[in-house]
């Protein structure tokens, strides 16, 4: 299925969870937040939260700013 991650369309397996997406994206161990369709997903829900066709996902981190 097709989802949007950080603005880029991406083809992923159906029934992918947020935890699975983190593996697929090969994200590092740093602190981050994941938002799906405008709602932040709590870390505790990563294993069960299933992504769906067309979902808009944002992977968010802290960067330098003032």
């Amino acid at each position: 299925m097709r989802i949007i991650v950080n603005g880029e369309p991406r083809e992923v397996n159906a029934a992918l969870t947020v935890a699975g997406l983190i593996d697929v994206l090969a994200l590092g161990p740093g602190k981050r937040a994941i938002e799906c369709n405008g709602r932040v997903i709590p870390k505790s829900e990563y294993p069960e939260h299933q992504l769906g066709e067309g979902d808009v996902v944002e992977v968010i981190q802290a960067v330098g700013g003032g």
């Binding site: 994200l27 590092g28 740093g30 405008g38 709590p42 981190q61 802290a62 960067v63 700013g65």
Partner: protein, 267 residues
Amino acid sequence: MGTLATRDGDDDWLLAGRRFHSRLLVGTGKYRDLEQTRDAVEASGAEIVTVAIRRTNIGQDRERPNLLDFLSPDRYTILPNTAGCRTAEEAIRVARQARALLDGAPLVKLEVVGDDLSLYPDGLETLRATERLVAEGFWVLVYTTDDPVLAQRLAEAGAHAVMPLAAPIGSGLGILNPHNIRLIVERCRVPVLVDAGVGTASDAAIAMELGCEAVLMNTAIASARDPVLMAQAMRDAVIAGRRAYRAGRMAPKSHASASSPRRDTAA
């Protein structure tokens, strides 16, 4: 010895019920690299450090070092900002992202910009966002203009600190209107911090002499020729200005007054 004198905690300040010693808050943008960011932050003595909230660069995430590896939340109080937001809704969304990212830490620096050129805040959207973030349990440190009435409204709406700008963000023009900063300090029950526009050490000292609880800055350190040395300068200037405020400056006089005794000169 004097520096040690304040180390003993007799002049700490409270933000949202937490005690802080340093009255200098620093941003982490515009540095050459993360090593310089870390060194400057360390030299500044800051305990509270602002960060921005942005998309992870997916492909490069593994290799690229992460800001929070250099500035550990175990050591520093991380203050995420909502820079770049133009509406209350955008800012609330970013605040929620930040809270999730920082394991539920409720602090946020609210910034809702109303003008792209001056980066001045939009007072109405800022007030709306403050009300809603407070209702959601955030501890809101709010970037605002130097309008004393708006500052009071924000404090009444539950902001934990009111942070008027000294001058446009990144301008380094110093405190354009000390009169307004003083009015805000007189009127607000919550800590008042000068947030933007400081250019050099004396500007930071002036902010503290006006009675501000603390000063927040980024560009003045990061864009100095030697950021680490400027960070030290800013740390010292904030301490100096605070002490001068507490010491109670002499009244300015329009005429001279001799320091040496006028009498008893040899004939």
